[in-house]
Amino acid sequence: MKTLLSRPWIWSFIAALSVWLATIAFTGGASTVGLSQAALTFAAFSVLVGIGQMFVITLGPGNIDLSVPATMTLAGTVSLKYMDGQSGLILHGLAIAVGVGVCVGMLNYALIKALRIPPIIATLSMSFIVQSAAIWTNRGLRIKPPQALADFTTQTSFGIPNIALLALLISVAAWVLLHRTPYGRWIAAIGQSLPAARMAGIAVDGNRFVTYLLCAILAAVCGYLLACFSGGAALNMGSEYLLMSIAVVVIGGTAVAGGNSNVPGIWGASLFMFLVVSMLNTYGLGAGVRLMMTGAIIITVILLASGRTANLR
């Protein structure tokens, strides 16, 4: 029990569980299954972008990818436009989404490296160009996704949403990558101290590049799935995932200062964030309160997390 409590991710799960219970209690248990499935589905999207963002944040202070929402929108728009509702082109569409991610990731790191600017400025500037590209491709048309894909993203297997299963699979892969491969060690080393990592002979540029690439690809795949899930790409579909991707990482127990990341925590945090919003909805509170709560929760968690590391020292 004590070792369990010392895990940084356990708190996000405890928080998620208590909000879940509070909501269930309010509705009298009427919507238990529906709420849980919805929570798992929407958490899965946050998990997908959150994992990518986590890899980037692991790289150390200042490393944040702000182009995530724009990448999601562009990938969703372009791939749906290409598939044009034909089920035979599902894999092609996926490949195109991944391609969008690869391009954005490469351009992001090219900017960071070539202009030597903080990653957040590079990715922010890039996100404006990507967003424009999405507006230009979208042209306000709403193209329906292929039926098979739409079904896959909205249906469940064994009572668990397919999307959640997919996200679980990717989470496991991310965990293995982070804890079992040299790459995971290297990015954690870079996050703790970039000069020390360089002096230890770690290929710093290569590792950072791969990380930004990975983040953009995960965002693109998430955009592709989200567009299919919601029956078409919308220009603002990524916007709420900007803060969400950062929030789930931070709340999940990953160090904001880098070097120490946490995959299970992202699940707890994603569930928590969705459940808070739906709880506030059930209580009949408006968008303003929801926004404020989201911001307040993030700041509180960062404050608490900083207290934790301060005690360690």
Binding site: R180, T181, P182, R185, W186, A188, A189, Q192, S193, P195, A196, A197, R198, M199, A200, G201, I202, A203, V204, D205, G206, F209, A255, G259, N260
Partner: protein, 483 residues
Amino acid sequence: MTLPMPPAVLEVVNAAVRFGEVRALDGVSLSIHPGECIGLVGHNGAGKSTIVSVINGGLSPQQGEVFSDGTRLAPYGIGVARSRGVRCVFQELSLCPNLSIIENTRIMHRNLGGFGWRKRAAAIILASIDAIFPDHGIDVGGPVGTLSIAQRQMVEIAMAFSDAGQPPRLVILDEPTSSLDAGLAAQLLAHVRRFVANGGAVILISHMLTEILETASRIVVMKDGKIVAERGAGGFDHASLVEAMGSAATHQTAARRAPAANQPVLELTLPKGQPFRACKGEVVGLAGLGGHGQTRLLLALFDRHSPQWWPIRNPAVTFVAGDRRENGIFDLWSILKNMTAASLGDLSRRGFVQDKAEIDRGDEWKVRIDIRTPDMNNPILSLSGGNQQKVLFARALSTRAPVVLMDDPMRGVDVGTKHEVYGMIRAEAEAGRTFVWYSTEMEEMQLCDRVYVFREGAIVAELTGDAISEHNILRASFEGEAA
């Protein structure tokens, strides 16, 4: 001493400071009286910087008291120290590079505010620079960032001696001449004597023992966080001072071999001065005053041979950092992970790190280099500074790189550890590894097969065998001519 001493400007009684496992100060008492220049000497890590931090209020000791003019100061801090006229010139740059010299003067003197402060600040700082370094040619309206290193140091020194209504009474100079040429250094020391003669007090820290012997009225020798000797200036000569500091190196100079006419494994042509070259199995020393291009050469060698984009299996060089906190250890990690960070490629199969191989490697080096810990999975920060440094050595030596670059790696390491590491470097060199070793400690240079002396970014002299001596190195680093 027949006359009663005036009360001390500042007196530290029985100060003790610990950083984790390291005793930086171990019950040190020191009093500084008006009209005194105290020369403070000791090897790196002897505790000089720590006692300075205690005196200027930047560090509160876990134990000990501070008195001034006979009254106890508690609590003691930076503000109190400054109000008592304590000023300090630090080794690292302590001006704001983005501000002008006038604006820096404003920062240094809190009471300088009010309308027209620029004019007053300019007058104050200009008077001080003029007094210490006549013919300095520095524009006080210009930003600090565009000054040369020597000019910056001049400004910092002038800043410490400047008087904006609160005269300096005790000025601490920590290696003030490290970037000044001989003429400027002489001007500074002359000013120190004038200042002391007018009733001021100075603590002078310097590696240049001649400066200390010529300027100080009392010399305090520190070693391992304690004061080991304290005498009037006449009580020491060069040899007895070196002896009192305790030589860090053993006199195993016989182990040094004449460099074999070997194939060079590493070469680099510098923009000016002699080219650099190192052969297989050689220990090459980089000497000279601090900050004259030695670290830059090491970094250039490292950058040229280390991967940027793609991990390589057989690195050509590996690096042992001296500034552990800045570019050595990964402080969230265990000892084991810190040690294996540079050789993960060797410890992986099919892209996965092999736990068993990693643990075995850790246990092997724990014994070989004697890392004092019950468990290699303990956090790296649980180790003492010396043992952390051993982990960095183990990290470098456990790679397959044939060349080891060392950037003043013995900073803050205790004498015992130093000896163990010296032995290991010799043994590894015998086995065919090449070492390139930058150090500010003369004794360590005498352990090298060949020494390059640096001045102003260039190699100005190459010394081999018995020619490697403190005398020759100092001569070369000051005269800038080949010995």
